[in-house]
């Protein structure tokens, strides 16, 4: 019940940050992004898939990420997304905003980021 509430409250503001962070490591396809978010949050953030793709397209339109169909030997082609330099900048600025937010939370409610 508690985790569900966190998920609902945070997911809207953090979706972009989550996606950009995952793509910072390496290019990934949509399903993998959803999987990673769920896995790394220990299931705390189960991604609402319907909003993943519109978010990806929006980020792509803003030039922060780039989607490209990649076909590998013996595999079906998949659409991979990679982080672009403007996306890297936005990611850095969002991280600092979230850092400041968690510092404020810690000071007020003694909540530290994991």
């Amino acid at each position: 019940m508690e985790t569900r509430r966190i998920s609902q409250e945070l997911k809207r503001g953090s979706t972009e940050l989550l996606i950009l962070s995952l793509l910072e490591e390496r290019p990934r396809h949509g399903y993998e992004i959803a999987q990673q978010i769920e896995e790394r949050s220990g299931g705390a953030i189960s991604f609402y898939v319907a909003s993943l793709y519109p978010t990806l397209y929006r980020l792509e339109d803003r030039g922060l990420i780039e989607g490209r169909w990649v076909e590998r030997q013996g595999q079906r082609r998949r659409r991979y997304y990679r982080l672009k330099p403007p996306g890297r900048k936005v990611l850095a600025s969002q991280r600092s905003v979230w850092d400041a937010f968690f510092v404020a939370l810690d000071r007020v409610a003694r909540i530290r980021p994991a």
Binding site: Y31, V49, D61, R78
Partner: protein, 922 residues
């Protein structure tokens, strides 16, 4: 949507089960959007992959298939609810805003120019190749334009010159080319002509100028007083001939040309009223013409008054006197040349009949015909056709060159696709890209035009060497703004045309497509892709045009060889000729005859001389005399023979090695005043009048000057006195030794056959002439072969010119083929490497590359030979000894073209066969 299903289905066949599942998911997702806006195919596919992966993960987690299906169905229905967020991905906005085109158009253009210049500097090899092709092609075309404009189109320097008509006279059925007019026609028409404002006549001659400085032979034109008013010419000083002066034969007035006035009289103003001595006779100077006035051409240094004598002299009504000269008229306003000719013909037919003399002159007894030809056309009709043919040839040459530039630009365009793709990605529209390419070509065209202008200017200095001496209006050919403008416009046109193809390719720029296309461009220019098809068509067209030029050049060259080696009826080798100036004002007939006899005797004992003779005229010499007389055949019938008279000394036939066909030649015993009159005729005379049985035919009293009657003693081979292409006319030879007046010609020819080179005799001949008479001036001393060579200057020039154009075109086409093949081999290196790796032998690769090139060449050659067959009739009148269907030219040319193509593709083919798959494929 359908296309995705099809492509996915084709990909799915034979693949693992997962792919077929995705097909199902695609169908299910698409159907779940039923009634709502369906997302893009890409989005559907991406969602289907997600669904398939989620389904597989659920199954892997231990869910049953129905549980997993239910979980995914739930997700799909949520996607369908958010259709608005997914339905279409917005089109991508340009990463950078394009510059606002409308307001900064001029700035963009300047930037395009700068960019084009930078690009040209950055690729010096490509720039040099394009510029060299354009500059050479345009410079040759510019020079031909300059010659054509100066000779055929440039207005004559006289006011309203388009109303001037040259007047000729001929007879119905005359075999001779009309060139002059008779006094009978001129005088019959001169009074009150209806279609002409007036008539004028002139005649040129060479005279010796003495009295002021060294003696000099100059060209003098005798002109009727009306001639100057017809030309609307005025003197810069003094006056013209008054109309009356033409009517008095003892009037001796002279008008000086500006150049003679300056050269001989230092431009002094007190020259009027002084005398000028010509051929020992004094003429009163009455005027000086302006520097711009030249009539009939720049050779004329002074004008004397010309009196046209009547046909019937009132003092001797039984005599008929016919004279011939050049005539000109000025059309009245509204009258045409045809009307003038009709009036002239009618007036001449109403005039006095000059009788037998006219028959002799025209070679037939027919009704008179007068021709009126616009003066400019009459001056240039000998070269008009040749110039137009060469202009067309140069056009073809330029087209071949432009084709090469297009090939070069296409090749470079292919390597620039990446640049264009980036520009397009940055927001440049296809129009903007085309503009950039056109600007680049305009820059190339401008630079090329500028260089071509410089080259044309330089080539103008070469023209006097290139053009034959008798080329009409050669002095009018000049480098001016028209030629410069033409060269620049042509250069721009050629480069823009050549740049148009690659520019059009940028219109359908598609990065993935163009890259794929370029990668599979066939080596030799097959027809698998649009670019290679364009290349193949350009190359085939180049080969075809080169073929047309080569066939034309082949015919002209073979014709020239035929003319040069034609049997002229004499042997021009080892013969020295000299024209002697012996004017009647300085020599009486008797003195001249005696001097010539002494000269012959002296020459005969000169070492190295085998034969010496004199003649009134020689082959390729000047002067002709025509006669008409009656003769009685052996069967008693009387005929009128019209023939050219040749007055020669006894050794003439031996000196020129003219072959005797029947009877005998003149002997020394004939050469005295008491011997029976004898005549030698040519083969044409014998066959036309005596069915080849001429020897022994008695000749009339007219020829023997009260000497015992004689006969035709021999028949000799026809001799080409003028052009070898002219039909042989009846001729008869008279022996100078039999005539009491001797050589009654002012400018006889001396002929000497030598053992060795006749040039060795030049110095001795000069000293012999001086020794015999210090006043004797040799007008022209030339070997017979030199005369022959100079008479062949025009056909030689024509064959060299067209041969040069054809060779140049073949070279350009060959270089184009070579360049395109090299480019193709470089771009297909990987494919060739794969072929080699799969077992293709070097021979197979060579055949692969060469066969495609040779097929293109063969197609071009077939089209070219067919086009040449249709076009050669344009030069049919320039041919001699070959027909327009000459099998040699039409066979050799395709072989030469194929051979050139084989050479052009040898290097790229060998390079292709040496591609090492180990280095390329890894």
């Amino acid at each position: 949507m359908r296309s995705l299903s099809r492509s996915t289905a084709s990909r799915a066949s034979g693949r693992p089960e997962i792919f077929r599942k995705i097909m199902d998911w695609i169908t299910r997702i698409r159907s779940s959007f039923d009634g709502r806006k369906c997302p893009d195919d890409d989005v559907i596919e991406e969602l289907a992959q997600h669904a398939a992966a989620a389904y597989n993960a659920a199954r892997a987690d231990g869910c049953s298939s129905s549980e997993a299906e239910a979980r995914i169905s739930d997700q799909i229905s949520r996607w369908a609810q958010d259709a608005d967020l997914l339905h279409r991905r917005p089109s991508r906005a340009p990463a950078a805003e394009p510059p606002p085109a409308s307001s900064r158009w001029g700035f963009g253009l300047v930037r395009d120019f700068r960019y084009a210049l930078r690009l040209l500097r950055r690729q010096p090899g490509h720039t040099a190749a394009v510029l060299a092709t354009i500059v050479l092609g345009v410079a040759v075309a510019g020079l031909l334009f300059s010659v054509t404009y100066g000779v055929l189109l440039k207005p004559l320097p006289w006011p309203d010159a388009d109303q001037l008509v040259r007047l000729y006279e001929t007879r119905q059925g005359s075999p001779r080319r009309p060139s002059l007019m008779t006094n009978a026609s001129y005088l019959a028409w001169r009074e009150n002509p209806a279609t002409l404002e007036g008539l004028g006549a002139w005649s040129d001659s060479l005279m010796t100028l003495t009295g002021t400085g060294d003696p000099e032979r100059i060209t003098i034109t005798e002109a009727t007083p009306g001639l100057f008013s017809i030309l609307r010419a005025l003197p810069v000083m003094g006056r013209l001939f008054s109309p009356e002066s033409g009517g008095k034969s003892d009037e001796t007035e002279a008008i000086l040309s500006h150049s003679l006035w300056e050269q001989r009289f230092g431009g002094r103003t007190d020259v009027l009223g002084r005398d000028i001595i010509l051929d020992g006779r004094a003429y009163h100077i009455i005027g000086v013409m302006p520097a711009s006035f030249a009539f009939p051409d720049r050779d004329t240094r002074a004008w004397l008054s010309f009196l046209v004598q009547p046909v019937v002299d009132p003092a001797h009504p039984e005599m008929r006197s016919l004279s011939m000269f050049a005539a000109i008229g000025r059309l009245r306003a509204g009258a045409s040349a045809e009307q003038a000719a009709a009036e002239g013909t009618a007036r001449v037919r109403g005039g006095p009949d000059p009788g037998l003399v006219a028959e002799a002159v025209f070679g037939v007894k027919g009704a008179p015909i007068v021709l009126a030809v616009p003066y400019l056309k009459s001056m240039t009709e000998n070269v008009r056709q040749a110039l137009l043919v060469f202009l067309a040839a140069v056009g073809l040459l330029l087209a071949v060159a432009t084709g090469n530039v297009a090939l070069l630009q296409l090749a470079r365009g292919a390597t620039r696709h990446r640049e264009f793709a980036i520009r397009a990605a940055l927001g440049a529209g296809s129009g903007r890209l085309m503009r950039q390419m056109l600007v680049e070509n305009i820059v190339l065209g401008t630079i090329g035009g500028g260089l071509a202008i410089v080259l044309v200017g330089w080539l103008h200095h070469m023209l006097p060497i290139l053009l034959p001496d008798d080329f009409p209006r050669a002095g009018e050919i000049a480098m001016d703004w028209r030629v410069a403008g033409f060269a620049l416009a042509l250069s721009l046109l050629a480069s823009v045309m050549a740049g148009l193809l690659p520019a059009l390719h940028t219109r359908r720029l598609n990065l993935a497509g163009t890259l794929a296309e370029d990668g599979s461009a066939p080596v030799g220019g097959g027809s698998r892709t649009a670019t290679s098809r364009t290349r193949a068509i350009i190359m085939a067209a180049q080969v075809a045009m080169a073929c047309v030029l080569l066939v034309g050049a082949g015919l002209l060259m073979r014709s020239f060889v035929a003319v040069a080696h034609a049997d002229r009826g004499y042997d021009p080798e080892n013969v020295l000729t000299a024209r002697l100036a012996m004017p009647s004002t300085s020599f009486t007939d008797f003195q001249r005859a005696a001097l010539l006899t002494r000269l012959i005797e002296r020459l005969k004992v000169t070492p190295g001389v085998t034969n010496a003779a004199v003649a009134a005229t020689i082959p390729l010499g000047q002067g002709r005399s025509m006669s008409a007389f009656t003769m009685t055949r052996k069967d008693g019938t009387i005929i009128t023979a019209r023939a050219l008279q040749r007055l020669v000394s006894t050794d003439y036939f031996a000196a020129l090695r003219i072959r005797l066909l029947r009877g005998r030649l003149f002997s020394d015993s004939d050469a005295n005043l008491s011997a029976p009159a004898v005549m030698v005729v040519n083969r044409a005379f014998a066959s036309q009048y005596f069915h080849d049985d001429a020897v022994g035919t008695p000749i009339s009293q007219k020829f023997n000057e009260d000497r015992p009657g004689g006969s035709i003693i021999g028949v000799v081979e026809n001799v080409s006195y003028g052009s070898v292409t002219a039909k042989a006319e009846p001729e008869y030879y008279m022996c100078t030794g039999q005539l009491s007046r001797g050589m009654a010609y002012d400018e006889p020819y001396l002929i000497a056959r030598t053992h060795g080179s006749p040039a060795n005799l030049l110095l001795s001949l000069r000293s012999i002439l001086k020794e015999q008479d210090p006043l004797l001036v040799p007008e022209s001393m030339m070997t017979m072969t030199d005369r022959l060579q100079s008479s062949l200057a025009r056909p030689r020039l024509y064959s060299i010119l067209l041969g040069g154009f054809a060779g140049f075109a073949l070279l350009i086409a060959g270089v184009g083929l070579f360049g395109t093949l090299s480019y193709g081999v470089a771009h297909r290196a990987r494919e060739i490497a794969v072929r080699t790796a799969l077992g293709a032998a070097p021979r197979d690769i060579v055949i692969l590359v060469a066969s495609q090139a040779l097929i293109v060449t063969a197609c071009g050659a077939i089209v070219g030979v067919a086009a040449a067959a249709a076009l050669v009739r344009l030069i049919s009148s320039m041919l001699y000894g070959v027909t327009t269907r000459d099998p040699v030219s039409f066979t050799v040319v395709p072989l030469v073209v194929l051979f050139a193509a084989a050479i052009a593709c040898m290097v790229p083919a060998r390079r292709a066969s040496r591609i090492d798959p180990n280095k390329l494929l890894h």
